[in-house]
Amino acid sequence: MKHFRILLTIFAISIATVALAQEKSNRVIPAVDVQKLNGSKFNTSEIKNDGKPIIINFWATWCAPCKRELNNITELYEDWQEETGVKLVAISIDDTRNMAKVAPYVNGKGWEYEVYIDPNGDFKRALGVNNVPHTFLVDGDGQIVWQHNSYSEGDEYELFELVKKLSEGQSIK
């Protein structure tokens, strides 16, 4: 049995080596079913923005810093969109307990984001998200090029600097 473990380890390492060597060109959004606010299913591989940058933000109605972040961005979002064409996709990880509060909160706050719910954490797991808030940046080619965990007041300015670079076709590595 020990041999199998060793075999698997070697196998995993070889995959990792090749995958990481190619990292730049294949970090795409994984295809997972999430829910729209009207309850119907949506596959995350369909998250698109016409070759412009996308921000994917994981949040929850019970997460105070998450809400601070998205509420702060709301005030800047119109300008951001105008300048770069960026789209923000907010993924709520609320489960059955709080799911029904997502649409009223989003509408109540007047968010203009594209919002989906990931009630059993499938998308969260597929992207390796540990805690919320967690933000990803996707470039015009659909590659995930940056991520950030947690939120501090002012992080949104850093985020927008990166979005601007992406929209100008610059690398942010």
């Binding site: 995958a19 109605t61 009223p104 509408n107 109540g108 501090s152 002012g154």
Partner: protein, 555 residues
């Protein structure tokens, strides 16, 4: 443990087989196939150095240092995906279930999607409907993980019709539980199935599911059902800003340690409706669950081997005193709960809205016992009790809370909360004879921005009660320098404790550094005993004193 390793080796063969097989079929080189793959994952490590502190009841820890850690690795290549998780508890942090001890691979899976069929073998998380009869999920921070180990099939039967079938055993720390869980779910989007409604503004989704469990009967006194079935039906109706979601679940007789081995069937109903438009949102919800504890081992307790998930219908608070002193978790044996949640935004330029607008959040929640009559039929039919459907029993929990959010200027933002709680400690914490706690809580949360990326957030919280440990006050100062640094100082003071010797301060200082997907934080000081909850699950954490290190990373 042995079973697990055996499966693991089989799985590794399977993985290699699948990849090489896949390869030879398409005629690509192995290298080329692999180069399309991507690896993702995350890592977390928490360690605490403990100091004895008799004043707050922090016990001496023989190991001095305890730690929890895990690493998740997921490999995806086109329609193929596989992953493992390694977990380590050396030994588990205080407050974690004692079953977590040692290290090992606790999660591994392989999945493949071919046209309309999707196959997963190994471990998987799945939820049917609202979870009333089936939900496996994880809350790593609480040590909650009832993941399945077995096979899952998903099939798109027709446009708008999805079938999901599962079979497996559930995780119990480093092993698997006794019982076998199997089930089927059908999810039908009527607008997709019937093309003439495809353009209809009203969208209707219905679902039906069944779950059964098998566990051998080794009881010498009672004849226990070895197979226990349950089913549920649900509907979601959406039209524009309006949404209704309802589910009913029924479970056949399932004598267990939870219900005192009675043969009464269980049932649950869960209803939620919401209406929202720009600047306004309202949710009304009701729930009744009666004898709906459902585990794959009838003798299990705590949070072990739960097959289903009955959500608590109360607000999930985040402020320290509100969230960890008297939080509520669903009483699985029976409760009736209601909740109303309102959000309203006063527009800019109105009397209350002022120059920058203001919003108000109002939430009212109640949970009561069922109104039951004991039958005292232990020696005959063992139905246990009868419950009246629409009648309320003793109060378990009440929460009235209101929150105002206001931006005063470009630099100052405030959030003010008031809450009134009624908390049945006797039932919720299992402390017989403890009085019902009535508490008033006030919180002011003010953020001051010095510069675009520098800010100071202060929280002043007070909780007043005549019961339990009496009054508390909390002060938090948090300075953040985006995007990398934060520093915080926290003091919680139990100034109203009935015992003057226990009127202690819980000082805690912390700092952290964040860089992209990595986060490191360090804190030193006292941690109050409390109940930490995520989702519907709570964990009691004892008081401690010492140095705490936490490292998280996503890649």
């Amino acid at each position: 443990m042995r079973i697990q390793i055996r499966n693991f080796s089989k799985l590794s063969c399977l993985l290699i087989g699948v990849l090489f097989g896949f390869n030879s079929l398409t005629g690509q080189s192995f290298q080329e196939t692999l180069s399309k793959g991507q690896i993702r994952g995350n890592f977390q490590f928490d360690a605490q150095y403990y100091q004895e502190d008799t004043l707050i009841g922090a016990q001496d820890v023989p190991e001095k240092i305890l730690s929890n850690g895990f690493l998740n690795l997921v490999y995806t290549n086109g329609n193929f995906s596989t992953g493992v998780r390694y977990e380590s508890y050396l030994n588990a942090l205080l407050g974690f279930p004692p079953g977590y001890q040692g290290s090992g691979i606790t999660y591994r899976f392989a999945s493949y999607t071919q046209d309309k069929l999707s196959i997963t073998v190994g471990n998987f998380y799945e939820q049917f409907g609202n979870g009333l009869i089936f939900r496996t999920y994880e809350e790593r921070g609480l040590g909650y993980d009832n993941v399945m180990d077995g096979v899952r099939l998903k099939y798109d039967l027709a446009k708008g019709v999805k079938l999901t079938g599962v079979i497996g055993k559930q995780r119990l720390f480093f092993e698997y539980g006794d019982g076998i869980v199997r089930g089927l779910d059908v999810d039908i989007t009527l607008n997709d199935l019937f093309s003439k409604y495809s353009e209809s503004k009203t969208r209707v989704i219905v679902g039906f599911s069944g779950i059964s469990k098998y566990q051998q009967d080794l009881n010498s006194q009672l004849v226990l059902p070895e197979n226990v079935g349950s089913f549920a039906g649900r509907i979601n109706i959406n039209r524009g800003y309006f949404n209704f979601n309802g589910e009913y679940a029924y479970k056949y007789n399932d004598p267990s340690a939870d219900n005192g081995f009675i043969y009464k069937p269980g049932e649950a109903i869960f209803l939620q409706t919401s209406y929202s438009r720009k600047g306004f949102g309202l949710v009304l919800a009701a729930k009744r669950n009666d004898n709906m504890s459902f585990r794959s081992d009838r003798t299990a307790g705590q949070q072990d081997l739960l097959i289903n998930f009955i959500p608590a219908l109360t607000k999930q608070h985040t402020y320290n005193l509100l969230a960890t002193l008297y939080p509520y978790a669903t009483q699985l044996n029976g409760e009736i709960a209601f909740q109303a949640d309102l959000i309203y935004k006063f527009k800019k330029g109105t009397l209350l809205g002022g120059k920058r607008g203001m919003d108000i959040l109002l939430n009212i929640a109640t949970a009561n016992n069922l109104d039951t009559t004991q039958l005292n039929d232990d020696a005959t039919s063992r139905q246990g009790y009868e419950s009246k459907y629409f009648s309320l029993g003793e109060v378990f929990f009440k929460d009235f809370n209101v929150q105002l959010n206001k931006k005063f200027s470009k630099k100052v933002t405030g959030r003010f909360t008031y809450a009134n709680l009624v908390y049945n400690q006797d039932v919720i914490e299992g402390k017989p004879g403890a009085p019902i706690i009535y508490a008033d809580v006030g919180i002011a949360d003010v953020t001051y921005k010095f510069a675009q990326k520098k800010s100071l957030r202060t929280e002043a919280q007070v909780l007043l009660t005549k019961q339990d440990q009496g009054d508390w006050v909390t002060l938090l100062l948090e300075y953040s320098y985006a995007p990398h640094w934060f520093f915080a100082f926290l003091d919680q003071y139990n100034f109203g404790n009935p015992d003057p010797n226990l009127r202690v301060h819980y000082y805690n200082a912390s700092m952290g550094y964040v860089d992209g997907g990595n986060r490191i934080s360090l804190s030193y000081g006292r941690q109050r005993a409390g109940i930490f909850c995520v989702g519907g699950v709570c964990r009691v954490v004892p008081a401690s004193n010492g140095l705490y290190l936490s490292v998280t990373s996503s890649f």
